[in-house]
């Protein structure tokens, strides 16, 4: 996982890619493929759609990279901003939002059957709780805790002030707590 601050190697890749070096851009793609896919997957809930959108995000990044200025905005935050826009555009084109619970599938992660079952159950509960939240709440929780972005980077990605992001996260966690408790009750 890349750190929030771009490394010298990453800065070099960005510079090369901005100058039109496709191989350098391919390296950036490989580095960020998993986190961006994960972010998109938790927003759209479908594997194939998440894969398509991930590729689309990087095509947009390629188009816009020429205008990207490294000073001021961290690359990672800028990347998530583009991913955020892609997800929003996707919502626009597919107004019939998919029932996410029907899309998420749990698999054996290589642990024993019992441990896997328990972990999966907890994950499933959390996912179900997450998907009942307002999209802005979902977004901030995924960006902060799944993507691991700082408040400042989330502010850039979501286009809000840092203070608003902190307040939003606080409310989102509260909503998630209520929803998670509700999911647990449903099981009992």
């Amino acid at each position: 996982m890349w750190s929030n601050q771009a490394s010298a190697e990453e800065r070099q890749l960005i510079k090369k890619a901005a100058a039109g070096d496709k191989n350098a851009f391919g390296d950036l793609y490989v580095a960020y493929l998993q986190p961006i896919y994960r972010y998109i997957y938790y927003r759209v809930g479908q594997k194939e759609e998440a894969e398509d959108l991930t590729e689309l995000v990087f095509l947009k990044v390629w188009e816009a990279l020429d205008g990207y200025e490294q000073r001021g905005i961290p690359f990672k935050a800028w990347l998530y901003r583009i991913a955020h826009n892609a997800v929003v555009d996707n919502y626009r084109t597919q107004k019939d939002t998919v029932a996410l619970e029907s899309q998420w599938s749990l698999e054996d992660g290589g642990q024993g059957p019992e441990a896997t079952a328990m972990a999966n159950e907890r994950e499933e509960l959390l996912r179900q709780a997450l998907l009942t939240l307002d999209p802005d709440y979902q977004e901030i929780l995924v960006l902060r805790f799944v993507a691991g972005l700082s408040h400042a980077d989330v502010a850039v990605a979501m286009g809000r002030s840092e203070g608003a992001v902190r307040a939003l996260q606080y409310r989102a966690l509260g909503a998630l707590r209520d929803s998670y408790a509700q999911q647990q009750q449903n099981i009992i």
Binding site: K15, A19, K22, F25, G26, Y29, L33, Q34, Y37, Y41, Y42, K47, A50, E51, T54, E55, W62, E63, L65, D66, G67, Y68, E69, G72, I73, W78, V88, Y91, K95, T97, W104, L106, E107, G109, G110, A119, N120, E123, L126, R127, D134, P135, D136, Y137, R144, F145, G148, V156, G159, R160, S161, A167, L168, Y170, R171, L173, G174, L176, R177, Y180
Partner: protein
């Protein structure tokens, strides 16, 4: 009031002291999702991802020649020794002086259009100016200005029916528009970006109008280029609007912005009605309706002054009159979209009347979208901060309808391909007076 209850609930919920520990547990749980082995791209996708992406990457159009980019790169990396740099600068200065002093070619090229001998000189000078500009925001402003030039060239070329020239200018226009759009990042603290975004929103809105008019008059072999230019413009305008909504301080400002956007969409609808283009007209009216619905939702959630409400109601009345004009001019196929816009406008007026009368409203008329306007996706409204500000009074602006406008020009069966982007708008040059300075639209930069 239901609104007050909602706010009270939120504060009570937030101040619950027992929630902190549970939230920490939840945060830890959320981080489990980050490590979940269940969320991975498929092995097939991962295996081919890089190759497939690289195959799809287009060659990026650079606004500056490759060798200029190379020199810039060397300069930025400090690989050009100072003495060499000085020599280069002196040489360039000499070349420039010679160029200006001898031929006046640069001056003469200012009015050149594609196909003329001096046009490459004009573009070269622009490229130089861009290259010499270090500040990215200033470069973005220059891209906007140059995009405007390309638009002017397209209008000039239209008179001669030079489709190849229009395509050349349109391609350059798209480059400039794309480059300026790339700088539209919602950085709240950056006043420069905000100023750029405001200018960009105004410019692109105007350009949409101009492109609609161009498309109406252009020969069929230019439609493809103009469509692409229009799509780029619409996307850039939407991006600028999205940034403005995002960085708006509160819902009151958002309502004001959406009011302006609604006016702009309605003006656009008039142009499309005159063009007889059902698809585009319906799209513009849908956008208009969405903006009006969102204003209604915002004013329901946020305390605005009675003066503001009265003006908004009056504006909606004016909109009704314009929509009636649109209905007279538009093709029959657009009647459903027009009727919906009418309905939304009238509903908006009823909301205003209900709020002014202090009536209890059971719920917001529509869910308020997030700054990026995700339909059906409502963001949590931030708690109101401070007393409600008195929003500026907005004079109603009615997009004028030109009774002598040309009839639809699409020849039967050979209509131009539909716009692939957002809506367009009326052109100040087609008999309709330009924006009047109110919320209806921007002056041409």
């Amino acid at each position: 009031m239901a609104k007050k209850k909602q706010v009270e609930w939120r504060y009570r919920h937030d101040s619950d002291p027992t929630s902190f520990e549970q939230d920490a547990e939840l945060a830890a749980l959320m981080q489990l999702l980050a490590r979940s082995a269940n969320v991975q791209p498929s092995p097939k996708f991962q295996k081919n991802a890089r190759r497939q992406l690289l195959e799809k990457l287009p060659a990026r159009a650079s606004p500056e020649p490759t060798w200029l980019a190379y020199l810039r790169n060397l300069w930025q990396q400090g690989q050009i020794p100072q003495r060499t740099a000085l020599a280069w600068m002196l040489l360039l200065l000499f070349l420039f002086t010679t160029l200006f002093a001898t031929g006046g070619a640069v001056y003469a090229s200012a009015d050149a259009v594609p196909g003329q001998a001096l046009y490459p000189v004009k573009l070269g000078v622009e490229d130089w100016r861009l290259w010499l500009t270090e500040d990215s925001l200033e470069r973005a402003h220059m891209h906007l200005a140059f995009a405007d030039r390309r638009l002017g060239e397209m209008e000039q070329l239209l008179a001669t029916g030079n489709a190849a020239g229009i395509q050349t200018a349109a391609d350059r226009y798209i480059q400039h528009a794309t480059q300026s759009q790339a700088q539209l990042v919602p950085t709240v603290a950056n006043a420069g970006v905000l100023a750029l975004t405001n200018t960009a929103q105004q410019t692109f809105t105007h350009n949409e109008l101009a492109l609609v008019n161009l498309n109406r008059q252009a020969p069929p072999d230019s439609w493809g280029s103009l469509n692409r230019a229009y799509a780029t413009t619409a996307n850039a305008r939407e991006a600028a609007q999205s940034v403005l909504l995002t960085v708006a301080a509160n819902d009151q400002e958002r309502a004001q912005l959406r009011l302006e956007f609604a006016n702009q969409r309605l003006a656009l609808a008039v142009a499309w009605a005159d063009s007889g283009r059902t698809t585009e007209l319906s799209q513009v009216l849908a956008d208009y309706s969405q903006q009006v619905e969102l204003v209604s939702a915002l004013i329901w959630q946020t305390d605005v002054t009675d003066t503001w409400l009265v003006n908004w109601g009056a504006l909606l009345s004016q909109h009704d009159a314009v929509l009636a004009e649109v209905a007279q001019r538009a093709p029959m196929a657009a009647s459903a979209a027009i009727a919906h816009a009418h309905h939304v406008s009238q509903t908006g007026r009823r909301v205003v009347e209900a709020i002014l009368a202090g009536e209890e409203i059971p719920g917001p008329p529509v869910q308020v979208g997030p700054p990026d306007d995700v339909p059906g996706v409502g963001p949590p409204a931030d708690p109101p901060v401070g007393p409600p500000a008195d929003l500026p009074v907005v004079p109603p602006v009615v997009p004028p309808v030109d009774p002598s406008a040309d009839p639809p020009v699409d020849p039967p069966g050979v209509g131009p391909p539909p716009w692939s982007g957002g809506p367009g708008g009326p052109n100040p040059g087609d008999g309709q007076p330009p924006w009047t300075g109110g919320p209806g639209g921007p002056p041409r930069p």
